[in-house]
């Protein structure tokens, strides 16, 4: 049993999203300290506004302005704020029905503690200092000792602003610890000794490299370790003419499928040490390792005669 490898894995995805007319008006409104809702066919005011009636699916566009004060409809006290949440001190999650609205907006409430929060309490918007047209232009809600007053009637709004926000960028980052499992761990550990190890299927006897722990034909675990290569045969290849970002390789170069000696599945790698236009099917190659790298940097010709097509045709 090899040691189980693990490594940090960070996934970041800064999506750029375009907004429809209703979302654009709402988010632009927040930038201008104006909260807009949308009126449905039966006269309800939805805040935050949506483009289609959740009940009838009717398209909605009649915008109204509601108050920046409202009433908490439910809440939950969060003693341990997590990364990226709006406040970094303990706070309450709240659903707030703003005065003039019939539905509630999810946001956070800055309060001294859970005893200071209750359903039905009055709150108001605390605006962010710098506002760009995103939901966090509302920095948070704060307790506000008012009664729902005359400001509770929504006022018609044309939704027109100068320089409306038409899109948002929503960055997101998730952190993982990746563990490759038993089969791939033993493969990666062997690479450290510059050996390539595959696994044989107990049923069909094929040798898979890199091994993933299962035979895709038989659907059973592959557990017999088999050393393959290091030499192999190019079964097919392509010439890459596009320079990849952050990749320090001159184009054109050749990327190939290589059947290592003793393996029943071709792996893929770059071919070096030969002009790109001289690479061919059947070319015999061997790995080139660079200092400090777990994986071969590339494969180069061994100088042997080309392999006979029949020797590798099953792997093309």
């Amino acid at each position: 049993m090899p040691d189980i490898l693990s490594a940090p894995l960070v996934v970041e995805f800064p999506f750029t999203r375009s907004l429809g007319p209703v979302q654009s008006a709402f988010l632009t409104g927040l930038r201008e300290r104006t909260v807009l809702g949308v009126r449905t066919g039966d006269g309800k005011v939805l805040v935050p506004p949506v483009e289609y009636d959740p009940v009838t699916a009717e398209e909605l566009h009649e915008l109204v302005e509601v108050a920046a004060t409202g009433t908490v409809t439910t809440w939950a006290w969060n003693p341990h704020p997590r990364r990226d949440q709006p406040l970094d001190t303990p706070f309450a999650w709240v659903l707030v029905r703003l005065d003039g609205a019939d539905t509630a907006l999810l946001h956070v409430l800055d309060a001294s503690g859970p005893e200071a929060v209750s359903t039905g309490m009055r709150v108001r918007v605390r605006w962010a200092q710098d506002r760009t047209g995103v939901i966090t232009d509302i920095a948070c809600f704060e307790p506000y000792g008012s009664e729902p007053g005359e400001s509770g009637e929504p006022a018609p709004h044309d939704g027109e602003f100068t320089e409306p926000v038409t899109g948002i960028v929503t960055p997101a980052r998730l952190d993982y610890t990746y563990t490759p499992g038993r089969a791939q761990s033993s493969y990666l550990e062997a690479l450290e000794d510059r050996r390539v190890v595959g696994e044989r299927c107990p049923s069909c006897r094929k040798v898979y490299v890199p091994p993933r722990g299962a035979c895709p034909t038989c659907g059973v675990a592959t557990d017999e370790r088999v050393e393959v290569g290091p030499r192999g045969t190019v079964t097919t290849y392509c010439v890459v003419n596009i320079k990849a970002k952050n990749l320090d390789i001159e184009v054109p170069y050749v990327y190939a499928h290589i059947a290592l000696d003793g393996a029943d599945l071709a792996l893929h790698a770059r071919i070096g040490g030969i002009p790109y236009d001289q690479v061919r099917m059947g070319l015999r190659v061997e790995p080139v390792w660079t200092e400090g790298s777990r994986h071969p940097d590339h494969y180069r010709p061994t100088g042997e005669p080309d392999a006979d097509y029949d020797a590798y045709k099953e792997l093309v």
């Binding site: 939950a76 997590r82 999810l106 359903t119 990746y178 499992g181 038993r182 993933r212």
Partner: protein
């Protein structure tokens, strides 16, 4: 409608982490278990459908790796849902209804251990108004729990009692991650305490579906799916009445739950408060055995926990411990999407 039954069910032991196993390595034993139970081989399965999520693994197309475990070469008829395997089962059931398949393998798996699942689940929320606030899964459930308390539907001690009953029931479930005497714990997000929340863990499950006489040939007492339906509610949390689950109610009506009493309910209620909502929606009284497996409070492998509810309900029918059971699966925040199925043993089939 064709008669379709769950004829075999298997699940892994659910564990906090399974670092030594890749997803396919974790999955393969349960695939072999259901195949062995029926004597079927991959070549005898007409349709395969799976449920999982790339966001748990943090890798694109992670389900394609898991396909190695079912023997996908030579080519098989296969599909995948990026959600709980209960919905993969629904797709397989539809496929069998079309007459294009008589047997189906359905599996689901999730490893929550690589990431921070409370953060990961925020990515399923509306990306304009909600996801940028990063409201985690416990926070959203806690908002629902407080609404239930305010409505007088439950209180904190009743919630603790639900969690306690579930973990006690799980003492008889060798696959459970959390069982027996589990302390209520501190508030995670008030009013929910640690004990009101599901354990975070890794696990997998598989079932085999078969139609008509094929099912009878494969299983001594098939668990017939007499009705199955799933419904969804608006994505805006503030639009929904969080103390009710109209989608569960409607799905249950369409699945025929209310036509005759049920003796067992396997409810996918990851949070103790959600059981309160579901019992109300399904009209379950104290005479119904609710989550005899321990439910999601005992083991909640994401993307598999809903399929496991169907599997646990079916297994009780296989064993003759239930005549008519309701199984429920959920997805999304605060029970946004709900699937309901009615399972019956042969004897109650008219």
């Amino acid at each position: 409608m064709r008669d379709v039954a769950i004829v075999a069910f298997a699940q892994t032991d659910h564990l906090r982490r399974t670092d030594e196993l890749s997803e396919v390595e974790m999955l393969m034993p349960v695939l072999h278990e259901v195949l062995d139970a029926t004597g079927l081989r991959t070549s005898g399965i007409d349709f395969t459908c799976s449920g999982s999520s790339d966001y748990l693994a943090g890798r694109a197309f992670s389900f394609t790796m898991a396909l190695d475990g079912v023997g996908a070469h030579p080519p098989i008829s296969e599909s995948h849902v990026e959600m709980d395997g209960a919905w993969a089962l629904y797709e397989a059931w539809v496929k069998i209804q079309t007459g294009e398949a008589d047997t189906a393998l359905v599996y689901a798996y999730g490893k929550s251990s690589p990431g921070q699942v409370r953060d990961v689940l925020t990515r399923q929320l509306d990306p304009y108004y909600t996801a940028p606030l990063w409201p985690d899964s416990v926070a959203l459930a806690a908002l629902q729990a407080q609404a239930l308390i305010d409505a007088g539907d439950t209180d904190e001690s009743a919630l603790t009692a639900i969690a306690t009953r579930s973990r006690q029931a799980a003492s008889g479930n060798p696959h459970a991650q959390l069982s027996g005497d589990v302390p209520a714990g501190d508030y995670l997000v008030r009013p929910l305490r640690t004990g009101d929340c599901p354990p975070i863990g890794d696990g997998a499950a598989a079932v085999i579906l078969a139609a008509g006489d094929t099912a009878r040939a494969l299983c001594a007492r098939p668990a017939w799916i007499r009705g199955i339906d799933h419904r969804i509610e608006a994505h805006g949390l503030g639009v929904r009445e969080l103390t009710e689950s109209p989608s569960t109610r409607l799905a249950a009506e369409r699945a025929g739950v209310f036509e005759r009493p049920v003796d067992t309910a396997e409810l996918h209620a990851p949070f103790s408060s959600q059981e309160v909502v579901l019992r109300k929606a399904l009209g379950l009284g104290d005479e119904v055995s609710v989550n005899p497996s321990g439910g999601a409070l005992a083991a909640n492998p994401l993307m598999a926990a809903g399929l496991i509810r169907l599997g646990e309900a079916a297994a009780r029918i296989h064993r003759g411990e239930s005549e008519r059971a309701v199984a429920h699966a959920t997805s999304g925040p605060c029970l946004q999407q709900n699937l309901v199925a009615v399972l019956e043993g042969e004897s109650t089939h008219a």
